[in-house]
């Protein structure tokens, strides 16, 4: 077992033993389920909407080269600087370069999982820049120096009390359990930061090829301030975020809000098409769009799994995933948690190191059923398992699987093996649950049924004779 798999197992063991956290996540999501269902039902045809969304993303991803060119050239025509970053290093270097070149003093940043993916904050801080997260949840986890727990709800694992304690310790505020008071504490700090910051960094929810614009959807208004008050705006955009037409947003904005947060539409939806134009009174003087590949094109080259690039990062697959709900977001050790993370992380960061995530699933399929853009998530986990076996089969499991197949291809050997197992059964009962028990992975927490006295084969034969 590699180090990543070991760490995952330990974290999963620790977090599944934390009953209070498991309970908190279940409760936090209970409200989401009701609201999501309600707003999903307000779509004239949710199933049809999913079909259409999947079709639009398929078109965008299958012709990504064309749409990205269109997107970039329209942005450039309005004076935006577009940088094509082949990997995280290139993107970090470029953004740090922009900050250095302008000698910025303070950076404000709105929520971006793509920035988490390339550890942008670490790079900026190492280069001597202060970065403040302006999304409330992100601000909280930044203060705790931990990664987001969930791609949409970064601080969902924390109680109000914990947040109050955190603010008290780190910001010196008075303890309070009132969510509005807690928000006001963060808001007072952020307002000052918005005014001080000379560089604003954002992600993007969608990149519209037709008009050369990025779309950002949010509930707090922080992204608007982050992108419009500082004199420079840098948007980091994964290349898969492209949508062909502006009108596609009419479907994708309500769909993202519904699937992601159980909302009809998010409070603020903004399009950004360039820096301040001549005659305009506000907006950034410079606008940079960094288009990030970071091995997305490798996924694109895989015809079987390409649809994983359809993902709009709504987090719905996490919300319905029984594995996520029981182990929590931090167990994964990835930027993207839950089913989508388990599907794409092996592609983005190496199969050998991350294949355990594809194995850590009961393949229940709740993710695929809920995905608004119809990514066949649990089938991709199956495919990843097959790739992993091809890449480097595990010796013990290899023998077991080969042996099992050998037996199952020989009915008489199968019957003999079953008979031997019945004889050996009382022995295994003697050691049940102890370290000597070969089945202790099961019996440690679960009772094991005895084998039937007679198999169906035997019962059938007796029946035939009588």
């Amino acid at each position: 077992m590699n180090a990543g798999a070991k760490e995952f197992n330990e974290a999963a063991r620790r977090n599944t033993a934390d009953l209070r956290q498991r309970d908190r996540i279940q409760k936090a999501l209970a409200g989401y389920y009701l609201k999501r269902e309600d707003y999903q039902n307000r779509f004239p045809d949710w199933a049809g909407a999913r079909d259409l969304a999947a079709e639009i993303k398929r078109e965008a991803i299958n012709h990504l080269d064309r749409y990205l060119d269109e997107f970039a050239s329209r942005l450039e025509a309005r004076g935006t600087k577009v940088f094509w970053a082949p990997d995280g290093q290139a993107a970090r270097d470029y953004i740090v370069g922009v900050a250095r070149q302008h000698k910025v003093r303070s950076i404000i940043k709105s929520k971006s999982m793509t920035a988490e993916e390339i550890h942008l904050n670490d790079a900026l801080e190492q280069a001597g820049f202060e970065v403040v997260e302006s999304d409330l949840g992100e601000f909280i986890v930044q203060l705790r120096r931990e990664p987001p727990y969930h791609i949409v709800f970064p601080a969902m694992h924390l109680t109000r009390q914990q947040i109050s304690d955190l603010f008290h310790d780190r910001l010196g505020s008075e303890p309070t359990n009132n969510p509005e008071d807690l928000t006001m504490i963060a808001r007072r700090i952020m307002r000052r930061k918005y005014c001080e910051a000379d560089l604003g960094i954002s992600g993007a929810n969608f990149a519209i090829a037709e008009t050369g614009m990025i779309s950002i959807t949010e509930n707090e208004g922080n992204a608007r301030l982050t992108t419009s008050l500082p004199k420079i705006h840098v948007a980091l955009v994964g290349i898969e975020k492209v949508l062909p037409k502006l009108s596609d947003l009419a479907l994708f904005l309500p769909m993202l809000a519904t699937a992601g947060a159980g909302q009809p539409i998010t409070c603020y939806n903004t399009l950004y098409g360039g820096p301040r134009q001549p005659g305009e009174s506000d907006g950034p003087e410079e606008f940079h769009v960094v288009l990030l590949d970071n091995r997305r094109t490798e996924l694109l080259a895989d015809a079987e799994q390409r649809d994983a690039l359809h993902c709009i990062r709504c987090g719905a697959c996490l919300n319905v995933c029984p594995v996520f709900k029981n182990i929590g977001g931090h167990s994964y050790g990835t930027t993207y948690q839950g089913p989508i993370g388990s599907v794409i992380t092996p592609h983005l960061r190496g199969l050998q190191d991350w294949k355990h995530l594809s194995q850590a699933s009961s393949l229940c399929g709740a993710c695929s059923q809920t995905c608004p853009v119809k990514i066949d998530l649990h089938h991709h986990l199956l495919h990843n398992r097959r790739y992993a076996v091809r890449l480097r089969p595990a010796p013990v499991e290899n023998c077991l699987q080969a042996g099992l197949a050998f037996v199952m291809c020989r009915p008489r050997l199968y019957a003999l093996a079953a008979r031997l197992a019945r004889i050996a059964q009382p022995l295994s009962r003697l050691v049940e649950g102890t370290v000597l028990d070969p089945l202790r992975a099961w019996t440690k927490t679960r009772s094991l049924p005895p084998m039937a006295v007679k198999s169906f084969h035997q019962l059938w034969q007796e029946r035939k004779k009588s």
Binding site: N9, A17, S362, L363, Q401, P411, Y414, L448, A452, K454
Partner: protein, 238 residues
């Protein structure tokens, strides 16, 4: 109709009464049942673990055995999904692809077969008890069988069916997942079992014995008295 039974390996060895229940119900409805004795396993353990060559070898055997069957009734939603959904995928661009598709098309999970093929919802069963139904994920999502088992249970005399809030949530079994990640599997099972217990049902019924093995295993350790039964065992009661 001539019906051929596919009794998956773990039902054969651990839950033969489920297979016998299916035989009883089908015969009660006036059908003759055949059971080719050379059958073993559908190949799902290898397939799910990524060992597709091994899975194909096992699947090919079953394809040969069931070649001449008119209709195949399978005693598990999970193994049913393996044959119906995954055999065609496993044999894509393989010389036996057509055969895999043919077997997939004539294979039915037990409750699906009764309702969609025999068009029966009342099999004349009687089982006076309060029970809740657990949807096996494969039957529910791969095969889309939310309704058939419930339609059948609603016609069982004396049976009071109460839905649990987490009916569609996975029990955490997931084949080798249950032993590769026992802590996650058990946690998922605990959520399921609390949901079952909250209904106050005496029985939890499912169309998948593998889920029931997981549920039973955890209920036992929790010291709960709720009993587990396969749908076929309930429908066989008169």
């Amino acid at each position: 109709m001539k019906i051929t039974l596919f009794i998956p390996c773990f039902v054969d060895q651990f839950y033969p009464q489920v297979g016998m229940g299916i035989v009883q119900v089908l015969e009660r409805l006036g059908h003759s049942v055949d059971y080719p004795e050379a059958q073993t396993c559908c190949g799902q353990p290898a397939f799910n673990a990524g060992y597709w060559d091994e899975a194909r070898a096992v699947a090919e055997r079953q394809m040969t055995i069931f070649r001449d069957a008119e209709a195949v009734v399978i005693a598990s939603g999970s193994c049913g999904a393996m044959v119906q959904v995954y055999y065609p995928e496993l044999f894509r661009h393989h010389p036996r692809e057509k055969e895999a598709r043919t077997l997939a098309a004539k294979t039915f999970e037990f409750s699906d077969f009764l309702v969609s093929q025999l068009r029966v919802v009342d099999v004349g069963a009687r089982f006076p008890a309060r029970a809740t139904f657990h949807d096996g994920c494969h039957a529910l999502r791969e095969l889309g069988l939310k309704k058939p088992p419930r339609q059948l249970l609603q016609h069982v005399r004396g049976l009071e069916l109460v839905e649990m809030p987490e009916a569609e949530t996975c029990c955490g079994f997931g084949g080798t997942f249950a032993v590769k990640f026992p802590m996650i599997s058990t946690a998922m099972g605990e959520v399921k079992c609390s949901s079952i217990a909250d209904t106050g049902a005496e029985y939890v019924i499912s169309n998948d014995s593998s889920c029931l093995m997981q549920i039973r295993g955890i209920l036992d350790r929790q010291g709960r008295s709720t009993k587990t039964l396969h749908l076929a065992e309930v429908l066989a009661q008169t």
